[in-house]
Symmetry: C2
Amino acid sequence: MTTDSSSTRVGHAPLKRFIAAALERVGLPQADAEKVGGLMADADLQGSDGHGAIRLPQYVKRIQAGGINTRPDIRIVHERAAMAVVDGDNGMGHLVVSRAAELAIEKARTAGVAWVGARSSNHAGPASLYARMPIAHDMIGLYFAVGNANHLPPWGGTSMLLSTNPIAAGIPAGDEPAVLLDMATTVTAYGKVKAKAKRGEAMPEGWMIDREGRPLLDPQRADEGFLLPIGGHKGYGLALIVGLLAGTLQGAAMGREVVDFNRDHTTPTNTGQAILVIDLKAFGEPQFFKAAVDRLVRDIRDSERLPGVERIFLPGEQSHERRRDYAEAGIPIATNLHAELDALARELGIDPLRTLHNPAAAEA
Amino acid sequence: MTTDSSSTRVGHAPLKRFIAAALERVGLPQADAEKVGGLMADADLQGSDGHGAIRLPQYVKRIQAGGINTRPDIRIVHERAAMAVVDGDNGMGHLVVSRAAELAIEKARTAGVAWVGARSSNHAGPASLYARMPIAHDMIGLYFAVGNANHLPPWGGTSMLLSTNPIAAGIPAGDEPAVLLDMATTVTAYGKVKAKAKRGEAMPEGWMIDREGRPLLDPQRADEGFLLPIGGHKGYGLALIVGLLAGTLQGAAMGREVVDFNRDHTTPTNTGQAILVIDLKAFGEPQFFKAAVDRLVRDIRDSERLPGVERIFLPGEQSHERRRDYAEAGIPIATNLHAELDALARELGIDPLRTLHNPAAAEA
């Protein structure tokens, strides 16, 4: 959402190529580098700018430190008609989770519903990328992941045993944009705290508390406190259940086993993710379901608003609009990020990320 | 949690028999009446006292008004290896959802994972009853339901198009009690607002707002406002997704189709529910998973606490303890509820609910 004046615009294709070139240079096979590059550029395209190109320097650092396997043998370790567990062999999370999602889509086509989990995976970008994948097949996607650093204590506690463990859901609609939820189980994501710190702004009450239970408003002091779960004990419960489903069930890290990938660049994270895919065709004619979603979406959008509210949004509607706008006008890349990517390009000896001269032609 | 002095204690078996006798008297076959009676008594036994015997007068009224089918033909209308949709033929929700859960357990045994939804169902009591069912089979249960009255507008809106649509999860543990989450996607459930009104207490800020968006604290004025979702727009998104999964996907009511079963006793509610069952055996040795859950539970329980916090609870731990206590000492039934049940007994010509003379022998 960095659309302020201190940003440049880049096209999706050049961004994808740049990321792929960097990843290939540090050892990924070309096809894998392109796949990851495409997904990371997709993240930026929908405005998930905390999960796109901004992560590239960190991924490169981790790969160079030996913390990610560039030539993984991603394989199925458990399988039944409606489930599988994929071992990612410590490869890039994007490759592992895509594989899991593709397999779940394939299995759901026959079984009606399928659950595929991943272990020995890594950070894979925004949850919504994967929850969206089944939509093109007239299928619903539900996605769960264990976050890559613990910032959440149990309710009433101060030991950070839990992460922001996100939930995402992608629901096909007819003429309307798909309903697409992507939410951390904490009031805010840790990335937003870091962004507040960068901008020198205070956090609103309710985001974090300190070790005495008092509201923590200074993002520079984030290390002294922890994130708050949504709905108090409810969000704590959700974060725990998501972690058990995406982590423990797959044989992946959970609780104190979670590696903080911001501080530790070499220990395999054994990240766990899981996707549930539901084939609409098993439940009747997909067009009836999609027409019902359209009606509901319109009922909600056209419903009465609180004073001062200009518009009621459906989950995913704003990222849908950004995806359309950025595809046309280019993806904004913050100036300081662009400088960081230029430095990375020099370090790796690859071409720098090309800025759009004519933002109206993003794919030029 | 009505353990105050103005309550009497009853045993689980007499409570079940009383409910079953009432339901049989208004037309349910004996086996069905006993099944519903058992599940309603189970709700009270775990302290879900807003969903147990307290609902009996309402159910009886609805049955007598012709709003529930006492002789339903509950049947499968869609089926694949890992899914089914059960049409409840407007029967008691407890019967429909139990059938769905049993079918999902059966299918998960082979497919590894199974999703069974219900439509033309009715209110079925607390979500946790059904999320718990798979646990005895070394399976995980995830349960979603559409609430039976809309109390939640979309985020920023004032039209109550959504309900408190709950999520429940049951996760088997080893020596520890199962992890059992049961949560509305609103900050509080509407039943708790009604309880505050009954006790003449104000609501805390954050439970409800009025049509101007101001905090609503007087529970007597609940009709003038609406519940708030957990985490603001996040809880709105969750309530919507749960409704799409449990309602729309099954061909059940959602959005403006939802019938307020507190005001309307005759229109079929077409309630939707869905359960996902995951067989631990498909993911490896269940004992390894359960041992990992035990470790995590102990890490959480024994972790450092905020000042003033005496104990950190796991989801489901308190209802687990109540279940044990109430099984021994009897289930507390509030005096005014007991009087209502006595009046119902006279009206139906059945034996009144027997109070425990010796609460230590609850099953006598």
